[in-house]
């Protein structure tokens, strides 16, 4: 469904992606992990042409995103929902208006239909009571959930999540994980998740890729991923106290 072919990208003279290759299947939850600044968000942005590769190609279905323009690009983007790190809600609109924005701007849906869909997705993310609040009046976690509601209100086939659980308390983080898993199961949505959070990656991912020094150094299902012999993967897992069975290990002096 999404294919990266030897994608290279440099930013500010630094090689961020250096020949990234992978293939994402329909209906899976593909998780990209790796240290900060390694190019995880850059990878995500290439999928919707917010960035274009210096070399290599990115395909969505049969269309090369990196060469798409105009209506082709519009059609590709309509297949996507995107949850940004901070929610990226427009500050002058309330939550309901933010969620309704893509429907109002891009569809001929009636106001009643828009209201009904907005109400439904806000209910899904548990924000129906806060529909009239401004983004500045709610917490970071609520902003992320509102961003998620906006990402899925257009019924996309693919949802991209940029650090969906970072900065959230564990309970809210697990709520987001549950929503991602629920959407995959109930609606068949393909998800691509960028995260540092290995607990989250192991619980929702169907496959996990580790990005390091601009390359994919490991790509496996969660069970095999935790047993990887790659030193970068081992270090990353150990730093989050995750054992080679996927369990949790208490560190003592």
């Amino acid at each position: 469904m999404i294919r990266f072919e030897k994608v290279q990208k440099s930013l500010g003279g630094r090689q961020v992606l250096d020949g990234v290759d992978f293939d994402i299947q329909q209906g899976e939850t593909f998780v990209i992990v790796g240290p900060s600044g390694v190019g995880k968000s850059v990878t995500l942005k290439h999928m919707v042409r917010l960035m274009t590769p210096d070399q290599g190609k990115v395909w969505v279905g049969d269309t090369c995103v990196s060469e798409a323009r105009g209506d082709d690009l519009r059609r590709i983007r309509e297949r996507f929902g995107y949850l940004f790190q901070g929610g990226a809600l427009l500050a002058w609109l309330n939550l309901a208006e933010n969620v309704a924005l893509p429907l109002r701007e891009n569809t001929d849906a009636s106001e009643d239909e828009i209201q009904e869909r907005v109400h439904r997705v806000l209910e899904m993310v548990g924000l129906q009571a806060d529909a009239n609040k401004q983004p500045s009046e709610i917490s970071g976690g609520m902003r992320k959930r509102a961003g998620l509601a906006r990402a899925i209100v257009g019924k996309p086939e693919i949802v991209l999540y940029d650090e969906p659980t970072s900065g959230l308390d564990p309970v809210t983080a697990r709520t987001i994980d549950t929503l991602i898993e629920q959407m995959r199961r109930d609606m068949g949505i393909t998800s691509v998740v960028v995260t540092h959070d290995m607990h989250s990656a192991l619980s929702i991912g169907t496959r996990i890729a580790m990005l390091h020094d601009g390359r994919i150094v490991e790509l496996a299902d969660p069970d095999r991923f935790v047993q990887s012999e790659q030193p970068e993967v081992k270090a990353f897992l150990e730093a989050q106290y995750i054992t080679r069975t996927g369990g949790w290990e208490r560190k003592s002096e």
Binding site: S10, L11, G12, G13, K45, V48, R49, L50, M51, T52, L73, R74, R77, E78, F80, G81, Y82, F84, Q85, G86, A88, L89, L90, A91, L101, P102, R104, E105, N106, G147, R150, G154
Partner: protein, 270 residues
Amino acid sequence: MTVIKEVEYYPPPNNWVGRVGRLAMHACQQTGIATLLLIAAVRSFRHALTSRSRREILGQMYISGIKSLGVITIVALFTGMILALQTGIELRRFNQEVNIGTAVMVSMLREMGPFMTGLILAACVGSAITAQLGTMTISEEIDALEIMSIDPVRFLVMPRLIAMTIMTPLLSFYTCVLGLLGGGLVGMTQLGVSWEAYLDNATRFAEVKDLFVGVLKAVIFGILITVVASHEGFATTRGAVGVGLSTRRSVIVSFLLILITGYIVTRLFY
């Protein structure tokens, strides 16, 4: 149109020749991107009649026009008063102080009205546009609009451009009227020129061409301020510090362009 955020990277130059060359290249590159932004905004004028756009344009007209009235009123009055006082003091040496009307009227219409209005709008409205769009760029709201297939130029720049193109000449005319009033007040109270004589002198020598040139300048200034401010906003990087730098650059570039364009238009018509 996709907002151009990725510009080509070149390694730092080794010597001053390289630095000068790089600066020139950067200036050309930024001018090109800003021109493309203007073209895209003008092309999106066809969406200006939708109900959301009409609401947004009216909102922006209120922000750029009505909210700037206070400061413009004070600046315009004092500009006229200073013009009248400085000219009047010199003219009094030749018993010609009655001619301050012409001096104030012509200066305000041709130059000072649009110029002062442009500077105030660049400082008040242009900086606000850059700060808002810059913050939206940093917080990925512009990216979010693009993903939702909402053209940021149509959604954000077009209403501001139309509002500023309409409001700048109106405010410039308002500045001229208040400047004339201020000049008259100084004439009456400081120079002993009656209001009737002042007005008669002011209207006798002013031409429609002066008004036309002033309006033309104001329209150009309105467009320049909006395009520069929007371009700087979209080009913002490096968080809150970047927003501050972009806002500063937006005001400086607008000021310089207002001065240079003002001179070019005057030279073309007189």
